[in-house]
């Protein structure tokens, strides 16, 4: 069984067209999981924040989480079912689908969430970006690695 304890970050895409960033802080013991869910949905003048507590179970590689959002009298319940897996780089990822039950209008209708566990070794996203773009050529035949270097230089400015 995987150790889910720690910080997770990733993205969600909703069938309603919304996208956003997701971060999860999880605790896990004997298959019982709980933690804090944070998301920010893009596509607006300012991101829509979503924050709540999650609780669920881990059975083998299958993770089930329930998240309660919304207000009193207008609850929004999000149920997530996903698979935990090892990436070929030795990291741990989760991907799964969520469904939403809401009494009133909710920006979330249902969708997918993809998350990566923060590495205890502190492997930075910059290193990951470099290794992941190394095999791809751009549309104009330009190596993506060269383009990534330009992007990094731009970010530093």
């Amino acid at each position: 069984m995987k150790n889910l304890k720690g910080s997770w970050s990733g993205r969600l895409v909703d069938v309603g067209g919304f996208e956003g960033t997701v971060s999860l802080s999880l605790r896990e013991g004997r298959g019982v999981v709980d933690g804090v869910f944070d998301a920010a949905l893009d596509g607006h003048h300012r991101p829509i924040p979503l924050r709540g507590l999650v609780a669920g179970r881990l059975k083998g590689a299958q993770l089930s989480l329930r998240l309660d959002l919304g207000e009193k009298g207008a609850p929004v319940s999000v149920t997530f079912e996903g698979d935990v897996f090892d990436t070929r780089r030795g990291e741990v990822g989760v991907c799964g689908r969520y469904v939403v039950a809401a009494r009133r209008s909710s920006p979330l209708l249902g969708g997918v969430i993809s998350l990566r566990q923060a590495s205890p070794l502190g492997r930075g996203p910059d290193l990951l970006t470099r290794s992941t773009v190394a095999t791809v050529l751009g549309a104009a035949g330009e190596p993506i690695a060269a383009r990534a270097a330009r992007t990094r230089a731009r970010r530093k400015k």
């Binding site: 990436t87 689908r97 969708g111 997918v112 990566r116 990951l128 970006t129 992941t132 791809v136």
Partner: protein
């Protein structure tokens, strides 16, 4: 509901890479054939998914569709240099009203390959608008 036709949407990999996806599917008696194109979306600020996207992968796919459970399974084998890698997608069909006519929600995994492929595994949402 049929899954044949044009689909477009988004891919989010656990590595943080995002991409837009176009998929044309033809389904008959549960057998699915199609073609896809994957375009990486730059993570830089101000980048637009259409203007700055770059074709990363395109090719034919085959799979199975279960109309009863509304689930789709697709396999794709690609070669990076001389090294093969396989990609498996499990998706489910669901209503996407009012954003689109219907959607496919799924997760894919890249496996059984030593190729230095950009993607590891993650989620896909595809929409059919017509």
């Amino acid at each position: 509901m049929s899954i044949s036709g044009q689909w477009e949407g988004k891919l989010i990999d656990v590595t943080g890479v995002t991409a837009t996806v176009q998929l044309a599917l033809k389904e008959a008696r549960g057998r699915v054939e199609g073609d896809f194109a994957l375009y990486f979306v730059p993570q830089s600020e101000g980048a637009c998914c259409q203007a700055d996207r770059r074709l990363a992968q395109a090719g034919p796919v085959v799979g199975r569709y279960n109309a009863k459970s509304k689930t789709l399974n697709i396999d794709y084998t690609l070669t990076v240099g001389l090294k093969p890698a396989s990609v498996h997608l499990d998706a489910a069909l669901r209503d996407a009203h009012p954003h689109a006519k219907q959607s496919l929600l799924g997760c894919y995994r890249v496996s059984s390959g030593e190729a230095d492929l950009t993607l590891e595994g993650g989620g896909i949402v595809l929409w059919q608008f017509q």
